[in-house]
């Protein structure tokens, strides 16, 4: 099955996405990886507000190379999602609807996705040059001191992903 979706992502839309489906995403994505997750997690523990709203949004696990003059962004492929597993259930409880990365997720994340009706997408690892062409805007919106690990607000057009795990707990890395 192939889907073209526009952000923000609603729970109804999430329910239609099944493990193995091809999805092209257009709209806003937020990039965050290890260090940004740690900060967001600590902020939530302290009861602070996050630098961007999570509700109906997608986080892309990615830290780009710097863009050249005239480029929106440099190479921009997914990083390994499993390193974010510790922080993810808590973000899902805040309304996060989707994640893009690569590799398997933990049981805790999969069950958090079921509870909160969220979806996990995989982008092709090591295809950062190709994927960067689908990113039309990029702006650092938080944690600038983290360099490549800062949070970026991205605007993507037809960003190609595959549903790696759906909101019912089906996991493409298990099916094969």
């Amino acid at each position: 099955m192939e889907h073209h979706i526009r952000m923000p992502l609603t729970k109804d839309k999430v329910k239609e996405l099944k493990a193995g489906d091809y999805v092209y995403i257009t709209g806003t994505l937020y990039s965050a990886r290890d260090a940004a997750h740690k900060r967001m997690y600590e902020s939530l523990e302290k009861g602070e507000v996050l630098p961007f709203p999570l509700e109906n949004q997608i986080i892309y696990y990615m830290g780009p190379t710097p863009g050249r003059e005239g480029q929106v962004i440099g190479s921009a492929g997914p990083t390994t999602s499993g390193r974010m597993d510790k922080y993810t259930p808590c973000l899902l409880n805040q309304g996060l609807c989707g994640m893009i990365g690569k590799g398997k997720r933990s049981e805790e994340v999969l069950s958090g996705m079921k509870q909160n009706t969220a979806v996990y997408f995989a982008a092709v690892g090591g295809a950062g040059a190709l994927l960067s062409k689908c990113i039309k805007k990029s702006e650092v919106i938080a944690y600038e001191d983290l360099g490549t690990e800062a949070v970026r607000k991205l605007y993507a057009e037809n960003f190609p992903v595959i549903v790696a795990a759906d909101s019912e707990g089906n996991d493409i890395y298990d099916i094969k």
Partner: protein
């Protein structure tokens, strides 16, 4: 005695850091092309086509092949008849990395302390290995290593009684656990023998050999072929979405070891297996 200026080292390292992150070596490129012909899963074929396209875009639009431009591993083989003038060699190499990662628009992926984790902002220091060899040349190999695959690597201290069966099992289990995290199709470097750190170094070096260049030692060559076949039978496939191409190469290096031990290191690398060599 031949004199080599440290600035020559800096310049070479800088250029190599840039080149290696924008263009895969011809053997790696060819191995991926052939993988496309062998892959049986339709999705797998599609992924391999995307990787091919990715390399084209990288070259044409001057975008690094992968955003993880790695921690910079550098092998320095220094001829014992060479005299280096100028800066301390380690500073010269790191200066090359610093300039290469800045001028090449590469990602700064190194933190200064493993616990406090503040980015050094210039990708230094590199991980530099020195070897003194005969002759009056310096051979430099730059091999940036991405951590999606590095994180899935292992050192296993087997017992002598485990033998070749134990080695095979250790490799297969490591590859299985690596799965999609290592951005398959992978290249696998295996080091057998030596000590704890020696086998790890051999495994890393094995990755800098031509992909699927077989060992001169008959039993090792057999083992390389058998393991590669079995790995491709695991079903992990391109990007871990299932398929028949899980690895495009597996190189083994061996060396003498202790009567009580059989150390094995498995260094997993992704399809962006980068290495480049120059001789000064």
């Amino acid at each position: 005695m031949k004199i080599i200026e440290s600035v020559q080292i800096t310049e070479a390292v800088k250029e190599m850091c840039i080149e290696v992150n924008y263009k895969l070596s011809e053997d790696m490129h060819e191995a991926l092309r052939q993988a496309g012909e062998r892959e049986e899963s339709a999705l797998g074929v599609q992924i391999l086509e995307q990787l091919e396209q990715n390399m084209k875009i990288a070259a044409e639009s001057k975008i690094p092949i992968c955003q993880d431009t790695g921690m910079t591993v550098v092998f320095m083989q220094i001829g014992q008849d060479v005299r280096i003038e100028g800066d301390y060699i380690e500073d010269a190499v790191n200066e090359g990395i610093r300039r290469g990662y800045k001028e090449g628009y590469l990602r700064k992926s190194v933190v200064g302390d493993p616990i406090f984790r503040k980015n050094t902002e210039d990708n230094t220091p590199g991980v530099i290995h020195y070897e003194i060899v005969p002759g009056d040349k310096i051979k430099i190999t730059v091999a940036p290593k991405g951590f999606g695959s590095e994180n899935m690597s292992r050192v296993i201290m087997l017992k002598p009684a485990d033998g070749i069966t134990g080695v095979k099992q250790a490799v297969l289990e490591t590859v299985k656990a690596a799965g999609a995290n290592a951005c398959p199709p992978m290249v696998i470097g295996v080091g057998i023998g030596g000590t704890f750190e020696k086998c790890a170094l051999l495994a890393k070096k094995a990755l800098t050999r031509k992909v699927a260049s077989y060992s001169d030692i008959p039993y090792v060559r057999e083992l390389e072929k058998e393991l590669l076949d079995e790995i491709n039978g695991l079903g992990i496939g391109p990007a871990g979405f299932g398929g028949t191409v899980t690895a495009v190469g597996l190189n083994i290096e061996t060396c003498p070891t202790h009567i009580a031990g059989l150390p094995v290191a498995v260094n997993i690398c992704c399809h962006v297996n980068r290495h480049i060599t120059r001789v000064l």
